[in-house]
């Protein structure tokens, strides 16, 4: 078939635009690597395990920020995962009008800008944590005997940030899980009900067994969101550049450190911040790749792609 000049131009133009996705991804890596070169040269891989952050002395380390990132993400997942799973289970089985309204309500959580979560966290959740939740957990339940739980608290810190992140990632995980649950062949579910399984047994053994990879994909998507969330965390984490004593102490995350320090930083500190950015990029790239792998594997299994 003969292609006209216009068609050719159109195709190459579109190809160029599409290739921009690859270029952008490559550009992110290139720019952060170039920007952080000085920090890596100065500190080497010791940067990853050093907990120093002293702009005056010119000593920087990634450990506090990485620890804070991992801890907040872990708390968010632990809190959001069972809730998202249960909510998705309810929404797939609920009568249509109820599922529609409540499903929209959950979806709307994802539409709220993150800075609003930050404000809500700062002015509503932090005082609540300080006056009621944390005293209850520490003094009434005596949780401070456990490892990683410290006695002194002021409302700010890893725990509060984790709770806000949990609310923020819940709709994302829930949406992916709902898609996966809805796509379970009805025949499988009906036959399980037919042999006398309860709803919970069907959900656990049939639906989850069938869509495990898809569910994992949803989990990774939520994980990726929690890792890189900036504003909501920035407002409530306390922004302390040192290793946390426990989950109630102030800390920082990679994204919050970047947002907080980058505009005023220069020289070695800027380079160290770029290095933190590179660590975040690699973490997020790994997580997203895993989620793509899981969702793809799920789709292949269902024969839809």
């Amino acid at each position: 078939m003969k292609h006209s000049f216009g068609d050719c131009l159109f195709k190459w133009g579109c190809l160029f635009c599409a290739a921009m996705a690859l270029l952008l991804l490559f550009g992110f890596f290139a720019q952060l690597t170039a920007g952080s070169a000085e920090a890596w040269r100065r500190f080497g891989f010791g940067f990853l395990v050093s907990s120093a952050w002293d702009p005056v002395a010119g000593k920087f380390g990634a450990l506090p920020a990485v620890t804070g990132t991992l801890l907040t993400t872990a708390i968010a997942l632990i809190a959001a995962l069972p809730l998202a799973f249960a909510a998705a289970m309810y929404l797939t089985d609920a009568p249509r009008p109820i599922a529609l309204v409540l499903g929209h309500a959950v979806d709307l959580l994802a539409a709220i800008p993150s800075v609003i979560y930050g404000m809500w966290g700062l002015f509503v959740l932090v005082p609540l944590m300080q006056d009621h939740v944390q005293p209850f957990l520490v003094e009434r339940l005596g949780l401070c005997g456990l490892p990683f739980v410290n006695r002194d608290f002021n409302g700010f810190g890893i725990f509060t940030a984790g709770i806000i992140l949990a609310v923020m990632i819940l709709p994302y995980i829930c949406a992916v899980m709902r898609d996966v649950f809805v796509m379970t062949p009805p025949v499988l579910r009906e036959s399980a009900f037919g042999v006398g399984c309860t709803r919970w047994e069907v959900a656990r053994d049939i639906v989850l067994g069938y869509g495990m990879r898809g569910v994992m994909g949803g989990v990774f998507i939520g994980l990726g969101r929690a890792l890189g969330e900036t504003m909501a965390v920035l407002f409530v984490i306390g922004n302390v550049m040192k290793m946390p004593d426990g989950i109630f102490s102030g800390s920082t995350t990679i994204a919050a450190t970047l947002a907080n320090n980058f505009p005023e930083a220069d020289g070695l500190q800027k380079s160290a911040l770029f290095a933190l950015g590179l660590i975040l990029l690699c973490m997020s790239f790994g997580i997203q790749s895993l989620s793509q792998y899981c969702l793809r594997a799920d789709a292949v299994r269902r024969g839809s792609r």
Binding site: H3, G6, A18, Y90, A94, L102, I112, V115, E229, G277
Partner: protein, 285 residues
């Protein structure tokens, strides 16, 4: 498999179902709670002068958010102008040109990874590419940062929407002698039009409230956004951040809540519009 009594299984089932109803109620309650706080605290600050006066430093009366509102509109529309056309073209390539499956798979993968990329990194990227070389923060840089965030989202929705257009439509257009370009733009894109618009609006509503990239690109200014191309530009998200974290004054906090309510209302307006558009399309078919 372990054998369990009927009563045990039944009660576990009831407990799990109660928990799952509770989970949904909790999520819905969290949403209502956030909205209630927004209305209760932000509603008090809202007034006509709040929406029409520019922001002012603490202590000067009659401060508002008009300049930040206008700045946000500028920055977001700038992002749409810069990002939408390339993103739609990229989506067209993925959906319409299937002769390079390996390359398309790589591009699709890159787009999916970019979609989950922390937005703060997009700010860093644009800072290095645009702000550091020129030494000038600008609203335009912020638009570019938001366009980078929008790009993969619009690209993937475009691909999904175009893939839903039946093949017969393309074949009949080509059989009538239309060129590939005209077929794609006039037939395929038009019949997927509502879907495309929905995708674009949804991604716009997402980036309109985006804050982290603006901290390194647009910064903030108490002036009207006349320096969009060359200087710090006022915008709502950074105004909210500044007023609520860097100010000890209750009056600023109240203004911050008012701004938060305004932004959320704006975001939801766009979000709802796009959802309704999409619903109408479904009814139409």
């Amino acid at each position: 498999m372990k054998k369990r009594g009927f009563l045990f299984r039944k009660s576990v089932d009831i407990a799990v179902r109660a928990f799952s109803a509770l989970a949904v109620a909790l999520a819905a309650a969290a949403m209502l709670w956030i909205f209630w706080e927004l209305f209760a605290r932000g509603g008090a600050a809202l007034s006509w002068s709040f929406l029409t006066n520019p922001s002012k430093p603490y202590g000067i009366p009659d401060g508002g958010v008009a300049n930040a509102l206008l700045g946000t509109v500028f920055i977001t529309s700038g992002a749409a102008v810069l990002g939408v056309v390339p993103a739609v073209c990229a989506g067209i390539y993925l959906a319409e040109f299937r002769d390079t499956p390996k390359l398309s798979a790589a591009i699709r993968f890159a787009a999916n990874v970019l979609m989950g990329m922390p937005s703060v990194l997009s700010g860093l990227f644009v800072y290095t590419v645009m702000v550091a070389p020129t030494g000038r923060f600008s609203g335009l840089a912020a638009s570019v940062a938001l366009a980078v965030i929008m790009f993969p989202v619009v690209m993937r929705t475009t691909e999904d929407m175009l893939s839903m257009v039946p093949y017969a439509l393309r074949e009949s257009a080509l059989a009538l002698g239309m060129s590939r370009m005209r077929t794609t733009l006039l037939i395929v894109c038009r019949s997927a039009g509502n879907g495309l618009l929905t995708g674009i609006l949804l991604s716009l509503s997402r980036v309109a409230g985006e804050t982290a990239p603006l901290l390194f690109t647009a910064l903030f200014a108490d002036s009207w956004p006349t320096d969009y191309f060359s200087g710090p530009t006022a915008n709502m998200p950074v105004l909210i951040t500044e007023y609520s974290t860097n100010s000890p004054f209750a009056a600023m906090h109240a203004a911050g809540w008012g701004a938060a309510l305004t932004v959320t209302a704006l975001v939801f307006l766009v979000n709802m519009t796009s959802r309704i558009l999409f619903r109408e399309k479904h009814h139409g078919n």
